[in-house]
């Protein structure tokens, strides 16, 4: 009763706040009991209305196609392409969501059932759980470079659950001017590689011979991915190595062998550190520091993929950049270069607008859009009918020559879900910090890999 009495003064104000008025007041000054009864009825009415409204919303479904990406470098470009698509009369619109930590956030989306229609994130574990739509019969494949279709093929089922738009390469970017000045040639063996770095250190003491941005664990993980994993891939072959990793065939992978590829790789890295051939701040340097040092001529070389090219050219468009493979570091092996699929697109198997998603991807994969995409990304297109100037001609020629001279390897998509490239990179941080000897490193890597399964 007191509530009603006290509230008389507030009544005009609360009347304006419709929902409170609906709950507590009545124009005819009802008795308290009657008021409570009416209040209960109105609560039920409001809840019923909410139920009907929300039900109808869910029943109708969303006409929107949601696109989820973790690729920061394509946000603006994709917005332009999406705007062009939405300007057409498609009967639905496409919206883009970018998340920096996309590979983790997609997991939350899968768990909560809020799965986007199209996504750039791709994991073997999700393939195994049937999260992606089978795209094997789509017409897009006829336009793709055959090796890229192979790279997009799930080794277990033989189906394709993603379409890559680009090819990417990873290797050693070097400052051609410094190399020319010192009369150096890109190395094909590890001994030549070390010798080159020693010459740079001696003749150009103001230059860091090899810059490693070790604060970024992913960057160190790439060294493992391209060097010791690269050796395994070239010796076992692409299919055999994928199967060995997928089934954790330790006799073939041989990670823990104190004289094996992993221990030897660790020895080589420690040698570079001990000889002062890499940056002394390897554990705290970031990728930005690396780019800054390279474009300003304070670093002669670094390891990365084509995705780093855009940042370098943006900072110094006239830079004379060379590209070389990772030198052979084991007996009877060849230099290695990553030649892999990049920028893959998948459709969710649970999408409520599969046709809409396919229609948008068809629009995205048009030759015109793919040309823009390739030039913005700074990597060659995976589509045969796209002729893009994705890098200065001299650099494109260097990349072509490298691909022809070295063993081409792909990414390790078959690694255990519980042991990421980031985890591997953290182990290299420990190696640089002196926590492991090379032999201990190899043993620890084997254990971490096994535990990941």
């Amino acid at each position: 009763m007191k509530i009603c009495d006290k509230s008389k003064k507030l009544e005009p104000i609360l009347k304006k706040l419709g929902i409170l008025y609906l709950f507590f007041w009545d124009d005819n000054k009802l008795s308290q009991r009657k008021g409570v009864r009416i209040m209960n009825k109105r609560i039920i009415s409001v809840l019923a209305i909410l139920l009907v409204v929300s039900g109808s919303l869910f029943a109708n479904g969303s006409p929107e196609v949601s696109f989820f990406t973790g690729k920061v470098e394509t946000i603006d470009l994709m917005n332009d392409i999406i705007n062009d698509f939405n300007a057409q009369d498609n009967g639905f619109t496409v919206s883009q969501e970018y998340q920096k930590d996309a590979s983790n956030i997609i997991k939350v989306k899968f768990a909560s059932g809020e799965v986007p229609d199209i996504m750039t994130t791709y994991e073997q574990a999700y393939v195994d759980q049937g999260k992606y739509l089978d795209l094997s019969d789509e017409a897009w494949w006829d336009r793709l470079v055959p090796s890229m279709r192979d790279n997009c093929t799930d080794i277990k089922t033989g189906n394709q659950y993603r379409v890559c738009t680009n090819m990417t390469m990873a290797g050693l970017f070097y400052n051609k001017d410094i190399y020319d000045e010192l009369g150096l040639e890109p190395a094909t063996t590890w001994d030549q590689f070390v010798k080159n770095l020693e010459v740079i250190k001696e003749k150009r003491p103001d230059v860091t011979p090899l810059f490693i941005p070790g604060k970024e664990a992913w960057s160190l993980g790439h060294w493992i991915e391209f060097v010791p994993h690269g050796y395994i891939k070239q010796t076992l072959g692409p299919i055999e190595s994928k199967l060995a990793m997928l089934n954790n065939e330790s006799d073939k992978l041989n990670f823990g062998d104190p004289n094996g590829a992993m221990a030897e790789f660790a020895r080589k890295l420690v040698e570079l550190q001990d000889k002062g051939l890499i940056n002394s701040d390897v554990l705290t340097a970031t990728a930005d520091n690396r780019t800054e040092a390279f474009v300003s001529g304070k670093a002669a070389m670094f390891s990365d993929g084509m995705w780093a090219l855009g940042g370098i050219l943006a900072a110094n468009p006239d830079m004379n950049i060379g590209f070389a493979p990772y030198p052979a570091y084991m007996p009877n092996s060849k230099p290695v270069v990553l030649s892999a699929e990049d920028s893959g697109y998948s459709i969710s198997a649970s999408s409520t607008n599969i046709e809409g998603a396919k229609k948008f991807l068809t629009f995205l994969f048009s030759a015109d859009n793919m040309k823009k995409y390739s030039e913005a990304l700074g990597s060659p297109s995976a589509f045969k009918d796209v002729d893009a100037s994705w890098a200065p001609k001299g650099f494109r020629d260097e990349v072509k020559a490298t691909l022809n001279s070295a063993a081409n390897i792909g990414f390790t998509n078959e690694k255990p879900a519980g042991f990421s490239g980031d985890d591997a990179g953290r182990m290299v941080q420990d190696l640089f910090a002196g926590t492991y000897t090379p032999e201990e490193f190899a043993k620890a890597y084997q254990e971490a890999w096994d535990n990941g399964f």
């Binding site: 308290q32 899968f110 604060k215 002394s280 701040d281 985890d423």
Partner: protein, 285 residues
């Protein structure tokens, strides 16, 4: 009267619902999941106490406990020491006192993530302003602080202390102002020295403030996440990884059930200082 109580009870329903939905339900779900092998996507199978057993043989997790506890104890000690010194200085009036107090307190209202990045850019070996300044003046402190665990943990604690000492100071300042001036005056008349006044009057009467500060600092530091993520990302390797970061990484590393069990262990770990504080408060009252 009865109807009035009904109305009040009705109004408490939204709050109770929010508490239930956002605290009780997730807690119960967490307890349930901690007994499963859920990977975050597929079906969860009941594994009993296996996750809890695995935790105690997980060298990385045990290392993280060591880091977390060391960070909490180091932070709590220094936060209280520095906060008390600040409060003793601030107790006396001086020019620009209000301004200085704001400057000391200001870092506490800035996101620890941002603060961590700022300190990273200041301290980064070879590049940071402080590193360069030390190098310029030829001081031998320009070491690579991320190269060794002992150096890195000290840097993390110091940044945490720098950020939150102002908050500790405010509580001590309130405690100091609550001490009657008459006590100090009579002690002075009796010929007590400054040290005697501090140890026999100030410290005993500050004990409630010390309790609050120590307990809240330990609880806050045990769940540390942001500062470590921005400064070291738990590195080099996993050497400065806290238990909170470990939980997040395990959760996203397809070990969601296990990470929930670790979260329960962290919950129990934080519960220890909370229960001690309850007990101390009870005995005090």
């Amino acid at each position: 009267m009865k109807k009035r109580i009904d109305g009040i009870q009705l109004m408490s329903i939204p709050a109770a619902m929010l508490y239930g939905i956002f605290f009780i339900f997730p807690l119960l779900q967490g307890i349930r999941l901690s007994f499963t092998d859920w990977d975050g996507m597929g079906k969860a199978a009941f594994v009993g106490l296996q996750n809890y057993i695995d935790f105690f043989s997980d060298s990385r997790a045990l290392g993280d406990i060591k880091t977390t506890v060391l960070f909490a104890i180091g932070s709590a000690f220094l936060l209280n020491l520095v906060g008390l010194i600040y409060a003793l200085i601030m107790k006396n009036k001086f020019k620009f006192q209000a301004f200085v107090r704001v400057v000391i307190y200001l870092p506490a209202i800035i996101s620890p993530l941002i603060m961590g990045y700022i300190w990273y850019f200041l301290l980064q070996p070879g590049r940071g302003f402080i590193y360069r300044a030390a190098e310029f003046f030829n001081y031998q402190i320009a070491w690579n602080w991320m190269g060794q665990y002992s150096h890195t943990i000290i840097v993390l604690i110091l940044v945490n202390v720098w950020q939150y000492a102002g908050m500790t100071m405010i509580i001590y300042l309130a405690g100091l102002k609550a001490i009657p001036n008459e006590l100090y005056e009579s002690a002075k008349i009796d010929g007590a020295s400054t040290l005697q006044i501090f140890s026999k009057i100030t410290m005993p009467l500050l004990i409630p403030s010390i309790r609050i500060n120590v307990v809240t600092n330990i609880i806050g530091s045990l769940s540390v996440f942001d500062i470590i993520m921005s400064l070291t990302e738990g590195g080099p390797g996993y050497s400065t990884e806290s238990l909170s970061i470990y939980i997040m990484r395990m959760c996203y590393g397809n070990k969601t059930g296990y990470s929930t069990a670790v979260a329960m262990i962290l919950f129990l770990l934080i519960l220890v200082p909370v229960l001690i504080s309850f007990k101390l408060t009870k005995s005090r009252s």
